[in-house]
């Protein structure tokens, strides 16, 4: 039985600080003339968040009991899909900076995605000079759990098709069926995250209850494995497609 969890989402909603690690696998060697030679092992560049939560959760609160049970159930085994859009206090996080309305965004579809070049179609209704996406905007092909960012501005020119350069190359196969899919923009993207450390927690006595304190920050690591119909599932066998 698979249980749908909201534990990591709760942790994010109660975050005090969130740090993001997008560093690539890179080695630098300096020549005698001090020219830096950079070698990169090209990877899927998974998103990594470190989330520090607020200090105390009231153990007597059923929501806290639910949170603990779900965390213990998930442990480091299962990922959870989290979003930064369902909390009004975090809605500025990853917010879309382009000029398309929600309706115009919903019409956009994927034409092709080769390497870091994402070609989109059905871009309509903007005025020349407005932006389809701005540098740093988040994009996610619907039905797939992998968020990408745009590395440069894309200005509307009147055409309906545009190419966006993404921060990491496409590792989905065309056979996975991303062509003609719609796209989530900005904080509508979702992250499928595993908690690679799942902190233990302590009970701090309080009057008629206990305060729950997590013993370390939460280290969240994006799941970049094959897609299944269950977005919370990690594929460990069967015909999973790409690794």
């Amino acid at each position: 039985m698979t249980i749908t969890t909201t534990a990591l989402q709760t942790i994010i909603n109660h975050a005090e600080t969130i740090s993001i690690d997008r560093r690539r696998s890179i080695g630098i060697q300096y020549t005698k003339s001090e020219i830096a030679n950079v070698t990169e092992i090209i990877t899927r560049l998974p998103w990594q968040f470190k989330v520090k939560t607020s200090a105390y959760f009231d153990y007597a609160d059923p929501a806290t009991r639910r949170l603990l049970e779900q965390l213990d159930y998930m442990d480091r085994r299962y990922p959870e899909t989290v979003s930064f859009a369902n909390n009004s206090n975090l809605s500025y996080f990853f917010a879309y900076q382009g000029d398309m309305t929600a309706l115009q965004q919903a019409a956009v579809t994927v034409t092709s995605f080769a390497g870091t070049t994402l070609t989109i179609g059905n871009v309509e209704g903007l005025i020349s000079g407005q932006y389809v996406v701005r540098q740093g905007d988040f994009l996610q092909i619907q039905g797939f759990p992998y968020p990408f960012t745009a590395v440069s501005d894309v200005e509307y020119t009147g055409a309906s098709s545009y190419t966006i350069t993404t921060h990491r190359p496409n590792f989905m196969a065309v056979s996975n069926g991303y062509t003609n899919q719609h796209i989530n923009f900005g904080n509508a993207v979702q992250f499928k995250m595993l908690c690679s450390n799942t902190p233990t927690y302590s009970f701090v006595t309080a009057y008629n209850t206990a305060a729950i304190v997590f013993d370390s920050e939460f280290q969240l690591y994006e799941y970049t494995g094959p897609v299944t119909t269950n977005i919370n599932e990690v594929v460990t066998g069967g015909s999973g497609g790409i690794l």
Binding site: A36, T39, T43, R44, A114, F171, G237, L243
Partner: protein, 246 residues
């Protein structure tokens, strides 16, 4: 291609290693067993490339293992040299990866197949800024993607398993010797012992039309085994009193 154009005029390169291993199943006759080839890479995705083989070229699909595949250092010299290297396959349990892609690797590879002595080839692929594998045209005018770095055989393997319940870890290391090392260790000719002189290939002799004996065989003359070393074993460690009357 005398130089690697991909890295000739840039200080920023993106690479992945590609490894091909040909093995035969254990407990199967080497002569009849079908050879299974494992093609894996440290790339972030599956890649289908064209590689050169003795009879021309072949399209090969490499499974992308990302950071689960790593290689030790190996030297590159201007002249042909003998160097060893090793290939590490990390964190792959026997069943998971088998089910995943139909390929074999990790512990299943070394336990179920004759790994020692199997040929292994390593290439390097270069990626462009878009994350696409770059191509070049070789001396025959054919389009290629990979540069060969190493050819050799697997000489031994090591399995490392950490069964700490909270930190399970599997690693298989394949130790490889350069093909030049293998060739330099080859025995040529025949040794002066009974076994070699009875060897079907090198121990046979034939008589030519003049009645002279030669090593080897021909299809038109009768052949016999060389008997020169037949008395070596009985004479070994025997004592002779050279002053004694026979």
């Amino acid at each position: 291609m005398n130089k690697i154009d991909f890295v000739n005029s840039t200080t920023n390169i993106k690479i992945a290693e590609f490894v091909s291993i040909s093995v035969t199943p254990i407990n199967t006759s080497v002569n009849t067993a079908s050879v299974v080839t494992l093609n894996i890479s440290s790339s972030y995705r599956q890649e289908t490339v064209t590689i050169s083989i003795a009879t021309g070229s072949q399209s090969v699909t490499f499974e992308g293992l990302g950071g689960l595949l790593s290689l030790s250092e190996y030297h590159r010299d201007l002249q042909s040299s003998s160097n060893d290297t090793s290939v590490s396959l990390d964190g792959i349990s026997p069943t998971e990866y088998n089910n995943f892609t139909g390929a074999l690797t990790g512990i299943a590879l070394v336990l179920n197949y004759n790994v020692k002595g199997s040929p292994l080839t390593i290439w390097r692929g270069f990626y462009d800024q878009n994350g696409e594998l770059m191509t070049y045209v070789d001396g025959h005018g054919d389009t290629r993607q990979l540069i060969q770095r190493f050819a050799g055989v697997i000489t031994s393997f090591t399995i490392t398993e950490n069964q700490d319940p909270k930190n399970k870890y599997y690693s298989v290391v394949l130790n490889c010797s350069s093909i030049k090392t293998v060739l330099s260790n080859n025995v040529s000719g025949r040794r002066t012992n009974h076994d070699d002189f009875q060897n079907q290939t090198v121990g046979k002799m034939y008589q030519d039309g003049m009645g002279n004996w030669h090593l080897g065989t021909t299809s038109t003359t009768s052949t016999v085994y060389d008997t020169s070393m037949d008395n070596v074993a009985p004479l070994n460690n025997a004592y002779f009193d050279f002053g004694l009357k026979p």
